[in-house]
Subunit: 466 residues, 2 copies
Amino acid sequence: MKTSPLDKDTIAALSTAPGVGAIAVIRVNGSEAFKICSKIFRKKNAKSTDISKLESHTAHYGDIVHKSIVIDDVVLTVFKAPNSFTGENIVEIACHGSSYIQQQLLQLLVKEGCRLASPGEFTFRAFLNGKFDLTQAEAVADLIASHSSTSHHVAMQQMRGGFSGKIKVLRDSLIDFASLVELELDFSEEDVEFASKSDLKKHVISMQAILDKLVRSFELGNVIKNGVPVCIAGRPNAGKSTLLNALLDEDRAIVSDIPGTTRDTIEDEIVLEGVRFRFIDTAGLRATTDSIETQGIARTHQAMKLASVVIYLFDVHELSSTELQKELDQLKQHMPSAELIVTGNKIDKEDIGYTKKEFAGFKNILFISSKEKQNLEELKTKLIDIFDDKSADIPETIITNARHVEALQQTFNALTRVKEGLDKKISGELLASDIRDALHYLGLITGEVSTDDLLQNIFSRFCIGK
Amino acid sequence: MKTSPLDKDTIAALSTAPGVGAIAVIRVNGSEAFKICSKIFRKKNAKSTDISKLESHTAHYGDIVHKSIVIDDVVLTVFKAPNSFTGENIVEIACHGSSYIQQQLLQLLVKEGCRLASPGEFTFRAFLNGKFDLTQAEAVADLIASHSSTSHHVAMQQMRGGFSGKIKVLRDSLIDFASLVELELDFSEEDVEFASKSDLKKHVISMQAILDKLVRSFELGNVIKNGVPVCIAGRPNAGKSTLLNALLDEDRAIVSDIPGTTRDTIEDEIVLEGVRFRFIDTAGLRATTDSIETQGIARTHQAMKLASVVIYLFDVHELSSTELQKELDQLKQHMPSAELIVTGNKIDKEDIGYTKKEFAGFKNILFISSKEKQNLEELKTKLIDIFDDKSADIPETIITNARHVEALQQTFNALTRVKEGLDKKISGELLASDIRDALHYLGLITGEVSTDDLLQNIFSRFCIGK
């Protein structure tokens, strides 16, 4: 890809979360980083400090000074190219965490020759300098956004090059074949066969199997990244909100043990054994002629279609087993792929013996009390079990990114054309072109092939300062 | 003061602002900091890393590992006692800025033997280890909370020991006198005079003058710290809200130039030339018999009493000069100490010549248009001028803390008793006791004298991680 002159600028940004904290870290990156920071920083009791003379990976206590006024006392850490996050010279300034100081310091850096960094620009520099490929850079953003141990684990593995490694193996072997096919073209008059067509076909088939497995892992990858969508459905008075609150409350209590995490707690999500479950709000389900209510029910049906799990909740005192069967039969029309957990609520109100007898004909039915928080653990275990079943047969590498799926799918299609071409014995030129297509799409994933639009699209999703 | 066993714990906290950022910094402090962090950190490509063997003030790229799972890759910086913020061993871990990772890392540190730090506990350790006195520690909190260049400047000066130095000089000279008086007590049978009573009295008087100046600086210190309270008063249709918005909007536009600062923008405040002006909302002023409206007006009068500046706004087309005079006469009854800026609004509607003629009899009157943003600069200059006038005759050291004022006032009172005692030629014992009182109150300011309650009260106001 083309690099723009902007990529030579020395850039600065607040790298820690915005707002007031004990400290804040401002990152300065680029060829002029040391020169610019030397103008405003001096070590304690020094008249001036030449940062370029300081050793890499050392921290220094001193003052930020502008026109002989001390703006703050800070700890400045030096990272010299190429041993830094971006591969360029970096200065990290840890200042006191007031918004005012952050602002003053950034303004001062701009005055002395920095440009404020765009979102993701530090990671983009790291990519330009070969510190990361694209999937690794994308994983950085996923890592920062991760909310559960599974999403964190997947992002971490991707950042450390697990997925890239897999793609590289596929690409390298395809390049070997491509070069043999291209070689044949050079010697086409002599009618030699460098690349064994049957070997190539075998290879294409095994590649497609790997690609297919990766593509199929996306369904799981998506729920890992965004949470398993769970829909609690049932009649209006079945106790859906009480159940949701009971599930959420316990979770919240755990989360808020650690100060500073509450701000990011997202409503209607729980994390169980490292897996995030995202609850979709639904209106109560009941037969109605009211048009507004009918719309609400249509939306509930829509939510059930999107869900991976539907918890059907009913009041054990309201429905007979016959009525329950009828409701479940209706329900199943609206949930083609989701797993169903049938859950009888309000068992605190009455003798459980009667309830168990009445619904004895239903397998896998759960009885709970949302109000008294009875048997909620069983329900949670059920949710986890469903996730574990779904994730039992998955490859080690999991795709979480729609862009990757698209490129893998396009690679797969190009390989199908290669396979068909081999069967039809098409010309070497056409075969080579299809192989090049496949290589192109694989290259898009890791960034060996990229366009400005693609890069813009990827890095603009980052937060500032990364 | 007594130190508690808790002060020996190794403590950890998120030191950057809560929420999601590119990076977050977790600080670990105490005697076990190196040992605990060595259990979870290893440098890239190393099997294990003994942090105690790393040099102070060096940064190291590596992994946080728990049960062979990599939680994050981080940059870890080592600060060895006594060359650290607290004077104890410190490890700062810069991790990826997701809430999930922050939480995981803190949990892991707790598991390995850290305790989560209380608010201000790092600064408290610095105080215990003699890195700071109390006024300097308090200044750290003020610095983090500062919103304008003046409040920042005052906090910065206090943090660097400006105020403490002043108190120390006063205290040392008083200690000299105290010891002479106490010496006389030991030799009381011999009737010698070590301390010249007239010198002591002179000294007490000059000390009181300094104390008085410091106490008086609090009025200014308070407006610097909390903003100059400004009240815009006037009839309901005078255009008060439009003026406020016009003033605020321009300011907001400037502030939001720097990403990440908007979150902390506080409504109804502007910063002009480094001074914060805080606008107090008021109801419109007019003669009324409506009881609710009367209450609103009473509140406006109350606001005017609290304000340092009242901008009286009127519509130049609504009032004649006679009516204006009448309104101003009424107004002045309700503002015993505030400065008044009389401001005619809506000059965009008509010929300015007529307006100038009509109100020629008023000195220092301003004519503006809030709607068209005409002459707003003049109004701002006026605000700044008033602040500058008020701050012309102030000592170099400014008190911004009510606790300090109280202690200074009590010192002053104890010195008054010393002075009266000297006049009345009271016994050496009583004199020595009054001097000890004065010393006690002075010592409270810097923390030479402190109680657990006082320390608790001061440090609990800090944010976590500082």
